[in-house]
Symmetry: D2
Subunit: 340 residues, 4 copies
Amino acid sequence: MSSPTLKVGIVGLGRLGQRHAINLAQRVPNAEVVAACSPVPAELDWAASTLGIATGYADYDALLAHPGLDAVFLVTPTSLHADQIIAALRAGKHVFCEKPLSLDLADCLKVEAEAARHPQLTVMIGFVRRFDASYHDAQQKIAQGLIGKPYLVRSQTCDQNDPSGAFMRFAPTSGGIFLDCSVHDIDLARWLLGNPVPKRVYASGTNAIHTGLQAFGDVDNGLATVEFADGSMASFMASRTMAHGHETLTEVFGTGGRLAVGSNPRLNRVEISDAHGVRNECTPDFYARFADAFLIEAQEFTDAALGRRTLSLTLHDATEATRIGLAMTQAMREARPVAF
Amino acid sequence: MSSPTLKVGIVGLGRLGQRHAINLAQRVPNAEVVAACSPVPAELDWAASTLGIATGYADYDALLAHPGLDAVFLVTPTSLHADQIIAALRAGKHVFCEKPLSLDLADCLKVEAEAARHPQLTVMIGFVRRFDASYHDAQQKIAQGLIGKPYLVRSQTCDQNDPSGAFMRFAPTSGGIFLDCSVHDIDLARWLLGNPVPKRVYASGTNAIHTGLQAFGDVDNGLATVEFADGSMASFMASRTMAHGHETLTEVFGTGGRLAVGSNPRLNRVEISDAHGVRNECTPDFYARFADAFLIEAQEFTDAALGRRTLSLTLHDATEATRIGLAMTQAMREARPVAF
Amino acid sequence: MSSPTLKVGIVGLGRLGQRHAINLAQRVPNAEVVAACSPVPAELDWAASTLGIATGYADYDALLAHPGLDAVFLVTPTSLHADQIIAALRAGKHVFCEKPLSLDLADCLKVEAEAARHPQLTVMIGFVRRFDASYHDAQQKIAQGLIGKPYLVRSQTCDQNDPSGAFMRFAPTSGGIFLDCSVHDIDLARWLLGNPVPKRVYASGTNAIHTGLQAFGDVDNGLATVEFADGSMASFMASRTMAHGHETLTEVFGTGGRLAVGSNPRLNRVEISDAHGVRNECTPDFYARFADAFLIEAQEFTDAALGRRTLSLTLHDATEATRIGLAMTQAMREARPVAF
Amino acid sequence: MSSPTLKVGIVGLGRLGQRHAINLAQRVPNAEVVAACSPVPAELDWAASTLGIATGYADYDALLAHPGLDAVFLVTPTSLHADQIIAALRAGKHVFCEKPLSLDLADCLKVEAEAARHPQLTVMIGFVRRFDASYHDAQQKIAQGLIGKPYLVRSQTCDQNDPSGAFMRFAPTSGGIFLDCSVHDIDLARWLLGNPVPKRVYASGTNAIHTGLQAFGDVDNGLATVEFADGSMASFMASRTMAHGHETLTEVFGTGGRLAVGSNPRLNRVEISDAHGVRNECTPDFYARFADAFLIEAQEFTDAALGRRTLSLTLHDATEATRIGLAMTQAMREARPVAF
């Protein structure tokens, strides 16, 4: 095909980075991965041998200087996001960056300010659930008035328990369960409620299994309530201790009905009837649940960067998600409501 | 209360007979169990001590002569049904009799003829599913036109496997799986399709586990198709080898939609999410599934016998169920369609 | 039967009172309704003509003096509960009383104190959900360790919207949505978590449809979080604005799994497949959902009063439910956590 | 990437042909569509403008002579399949061909014979359901013994009703509902039961809405039973008159449990609770249900043709599906069992 392609540099090739790389290299028709960047040589080898990405950089600035590069895909530690985005923008590159934008509100605002200086560049934070077919359908139905005026979102991100507690090593830098997990739910709630302004949050949590989290002011199960200025509300749950799998569930209550997305985290269409009853297996992790959405997300970023469509989500949405997530974390730690 | 009560004699106090007796004695306000009849002295003792039924008879004719008796409830072996019904009618008693009416078509017709001579007496064969709230709701919805014109019923009666094979001792007298189990589905199909006239049946079966049934010309899994004269159809399955519980499922396909009754044989409203997935437990047997319907059935019989309502089902319905069940059995044994 | 019966006086014959009366009169074998009490003559007439309860009293003290009376069933306005229970106890009667015990904590404690003086008398507050077969099953499974250690209950009572807003006339005396509706969920959470001690509650709410509730400090949708001293938590939702029906849903999260009771408020076992998709109808109100539980509850009260069993729930449970409900109400009105 | 690619010619660019072309051109990494063949110039234009397939042929033989062509993808009328496959094989090309292989058993055998002369060439008939993740999972579970020994498959292909009756124009050439729709179910049953040998079939049908089909000996609703030599059985339903959407459902009953694939044809993970009850929307057509499977199928064909894997299904499987489908059609038309 002679249509233009977006020349992308993938930055960060951990587990999720590899999946993004595969999508961009093989399944997004107008994207081409021209270079990879990672401090880990084995990851660059993987990119070369598996996806034919010949050029690998250990250094991010070197990647930005790659000839003909149009865009970067940042799948890096959150603490690097703000600086890497700003550097890319200054180098004239479109930027996709995994969520959350940052754990620091000032950094979020700095990124917003820099992006405002480059209106021709696409910047997208990967709130992947917005690209899931079911969430998209729900949002469309709400926009069409199917459930009247939405006034309450209840949303949860519940991970399957990892008895090894491997996630504990991210505890010092994850920002806590609300910024790590609930940030998705916060973004969904804002999106599905029509971007209301937050007024007050309250949160609490407990450590049901991984008591070691307490040392980091973190919990393995958290609850939070957000009240918005227009009277709408959101209720969140985040957990790392599910026995049955990863369960992302979002309900939107409206004056004329309710939509639920994900009320049974079924793995597929198989139903088993045996001595355990009638049952279905569950999605083991977020990637099993959102694999298709990651592809659609990459496609939409590519199309937006190529000027073929506008994005529905903004950098400010990412800032708001961090702002609310930080307030929830504070509310839990101080056992008091936090007002905005 | 001063309203009249129906004085009932319960005949047969096996497991199902005891349940009928409890319903009549304790939960049907206008029924009173004044006597019991059983050849087993222990069963009469149970009736006396548990339900306060003071009078017990070993002999059926003696029961019929019990002073003031209004009605009998026959929960006896199928081979006795026809004679017992006829004797009760001749004694001027209302009759409830468990399904099937008989395994012999001539006997069915004899009972119909006798009943016609006693139009003031209520005779009811216990097609209990007609009294289940869900089946009743489905029938009402069809009558209201919710699914347009119904043209196909698919119905199954699938029992949980009993590894002990205890049911094998009924094999010589049960009439086979179609008369024992499918007779309910046949009755439902006729009811829900508006009593169409059968034209042709075909059936087949296999012994998946209980190969000993072969000696009786019986199977532990059977399939049958019935074509009716008006173009409507029915497809039946009967099984004795389910791992998960008792599953009665009936679907009615209409030109404007489909109704399903029982698509998951859930035991209750509890859902378990654990290492087995998301699951619900199942009804273990027909009584767990239809306990409420047995009570409604007894109530409706009582009300009909007291002249407060008319019955929706007739003796002829029971004859038709036997007629079709016999044809299905013949079709399976001869591996050919049987026409009516 | 010669076994002893409990001679009951039914007090209050509104809609729910009538249902209790029918259960006691017709379906609880060992109960006998010997008298009724109501200030409304038509209600006493109904009791006489429908249930044959010949004796009716306008005056509660007169009822308590009814010869041979063993017990009272109080289905009266909440504001009368405490005094009526105390009077009955002093008259030597067993007492069943509808929930909530009282909206006033001091009154709850007074009732507890009086009851302690009559240990031979049964006093039961009608937390009907404990008698529902599904909740009972869930509680048994937890006790057996099926889900490990339970650490979080999420429970909701959501009523179908009544566009007429008829419930508004109860707003001045209902105590608010948390005491009217969530009191059930509070009791369930305590029961299913093993009676933890409450530490702190937070609550918030909104008026999505019935803005007139604001005048009473009430809301039509409320959210609350309870933290217990042992680290366990509860999250509640109450609503009066569901479009699809009455939905009572309770989830219990444990370290080894989760139980959900009522995740789809299906009316029955009928599933409809038509232009609206695949669907089931819903229970319209709490009585449709809990009709069986009301009967089991009446049976258990009767058996306990007759000395045949002990009760699993205590007056103190009812006091605790009021205590927590009051704190939730206060937290919402003052927008701050309330500590115990 | 330097890995070899399969140079494919797409033949037939109707609706399904276009979807195959998009998959091959954009989403199968190792496939390249180098030429298209269609008698319709507008279809070749579409291939050029949308997918950049520069070379288009009106003539199939010309396509086969395209330089460097490795494989053909036949999405053509069934009546052409046999000759086109044979021509491709003689030209040394790998062949993918849509189902059914042929409506003529002799043609099936001719194709099998020709393929046997070219063992180095991959020939695959598109029984797409084998490549669906859920069916694949079910098959794996059966192979692992999860449900014991499978003895009965019940499977259905039910299309949403098209009130326009557009499908009627295919009636003269479709081979009837069993060869057009049930051929998938037949293939699934053989696969999931371990390729049993058919012994006898019976079938019947009715025209619930599209009575015009009668003129072609066809029906809009069909039922069929297949008995296999090893005692296992299959029961099929095919329909063109569903109100709610396309529903493909397959159940496998084993001595230790049952698997169901597709028991609710849910469109996605959205659940709506409103005045219609609790509901989900449904897949409108087979492509909405099996879009992912079509991609996996194309990937597996490509990998097989490139020598990277072997196929799990054979040409003989396709012959067997036609053989059984023809017998079912005959059984229905002659109202008698057809033995093999």
